[in-house]
Subunit: 345 residues, 2 copies
């Protein structure tokens, strides 16, 4: 469900595996929100040229991958769903899926949606929303991988978070390729929390770069971020969230996100200008007006911490927010941790 | 014990804290293996100019730090020892310390020595060697920090591994500064294993760079390395070695070591030339003839794995060794993990 960049790249993986493993149907349906691109329907382009020219140009798609604009067909003919939608469309789309049902009994689902919902005092994973709406189990997949590189078959990894091992085994078989290795961990929340909140740490890491701090200082900030992500996940979800650290969705995704990427670059620019250049100006100059995820997530995380009265336990998230939005001096990022008093352990 | 670059930088920290905390003697003795530098004795330079002009030039040292060339005085007058020696001199120096004794009852010790001893089937930490020779408890300190930057008071962190919490509290107080934050974890082996074997992963990461692979592939290799370090530590030592991952001596040190540094740069050069350029040539060109630690550690780790018949459990360490020393194609680094078969979990 979803034929964007990541939706198309992941459906390519799945179609390759569906063709290899006899236990899967050969045909893989890619639900296409129909639109016209260069004078032709997108589903027609996908099915005739075997390429998603709008969202994943230059990548040949397997012939057993079929673009289907009819959501009813997708919902009624399938029993294994992969949700790859922009987060703002998840709820409305799965509601529509429900209306298009009935969904086959015994169906299962996995979410590749990036982000979590942070509103008021609550932290809600998209897997919860999907499970509630569709009434079927929903797993999560995340990791240090980028759609375009996966499509080009560059080696990377991903992590599946599960509650029932038997479901994970099915999705592992469906996603695992020689260039895309899958590990599975119990629990679905941590995989999603890491995927969302790593972007806040990327903002902190970018501030380090902008302040001209060395690699050991930056590594300290990334380490503190790793610990706060785990603490956050463990606080809001009942599963043991520390296992994911060792996986692609944990340490590997945090590393790539904090070393390069748009959040780091833009936050470095912000710190270089001592916060005097606005995020909007930076986004306009450096991202052609696209919006940063890390800053908005930093704000949402801060609001949730505040609503729960637990800001003091998350000094890195709090100072990152305050630098980004409340005019705190970027150098406070480090000053925060440079305290005279010894923390007894 | 040891007035090299790291010995001097860490004794500066300690002297600062000894002056602040009344429970410590004000005078901190820095044992100096006497030598002549620019026509003067090194201990005299340290005590007159308050600067170690040979090993840490440009850094002013506290006046309560005293260079002492007489090992007997250091041993007999102290009850808290910090060992900061090049690994090849540890055993002989602590033996000599023992001869210079008696060591005061109730004395404690901490090792800042980098590396572990890998010989035959055995993996021995320097803390074990030191404890055996001196007959006093020995803790370990390691982390993502570089002597010169610590001396310049750039913010970084370190981890103390301990068996008895009361000892850790003393050393935390002795090392912790606003620019050098200390966390403590139970167990001494993992802290040292990480400090040594991270350099092997840095070689693997350098191969990625040399092969022109993207950041997600490199992050996957670093993650696999992190997991193999933990597996290695847990296999050879009875303590729970996974806790250190969350600390400066764990994930932070691995990140800085694999992102920059000499091991990465030299390994990248090696892979670029498909292993046709020798390590000696690379060391001569890029390090002015100094020796790499990562390659020799890779060889020692491989020999220990082989002697124990457990190569199959450490695919990354093994392929890294084989590329470095047995002419394996650098691209095998990835091919190794790009297997058709699904690993059931």
């Amino acid at each position: 469900m979803g034929c964007g960049n990541w939706g198309t790249a992941s459906s390519k993986l799945i179609a390759e595996n569906a063709a290899r493993h006899p236990e899967f149907d050969n045909t893989v349906r890619l639900w296409v929100l129909e639109e016209v691109f260069e004078g032709r329907k997108l589903s027609e382009i996908i099915n005739t040229d075997h390429e998603n020219k709008k969202y994943l140009p230059g990548i040949k798609l397997p012939h057993n991958l079929v673009g289907v604009p009819d959501m009813k067909e997708c919902v009624q003919e399938s029993d294994t769903f992969i949700i790859v939608l922009p987060h703002q469309f998840v709820k409305s789309t799965v509601r529509k899926m429900k209306e298009m049902g009935p969904i086959k009994p015994g169906s299962i689902c996995i979410s590749l949606v990036k982000g979590i919902e942070l509103t008021g005092r609550d932290v809600v994973c998209f897997t919860e929303t999907i499970e509630q709406e569709l009434g079927i189990p929903c797993l999560a997949l995340s990791g240090a991988n980028v759609a375009t590189n996966v499509a080009k078959e560059e080696f990377s990894e991903a992590t599946i978070g599960y509650k029932e091992k038997e479901h994970a085994l099915i999705f592992q078989k469906l996603f695992d390729r020689p260039y895309f290795k899958i590990n599975c961990v119990p629990g679905v929340a941590a995989v999603q929390v890491f995927g969302a909140i790593k972007n806040v740490v990327a903002i902190s890491a970018g501030f380090c770069d902008g302040l001209g701090l060395g690699s050991n200082t930056k590594a300290a900030i990334m380490r503190l971020g790793l610990n706060e992500i785990c603490k956050f996940a463990n606080k809001f979800f009942s599963e043991d969230c520390n296992k994911v650290v060792f996986e692609s969705a944990g340490v590997a995704d945090l590393i790539t996100t904090c070393i390069g990427g748009r959040n780091v670059r833009c936050a470095a620019e912000f710190a270089k200008h001592q916060g005097k250049k606005s995020w909007t100006d930076i986004e306009n100059e450096m991202l052609g007006g696209q919006k940063l995820q890390g800053t908005s997530t930093a704000e949402e995380v801060y609001n949730v911490l505040k609503a729960n009265g637990i800001e003091a336990e998350f000094p890195l998230f709090v100072i990152t927010y305050k630098i980004a939005y409340e005019g705190a001096d970027p150098a406070d990022l480090i000053r925060q941790f440079s305290v005279e008093a010894i923390t007894p352990f």
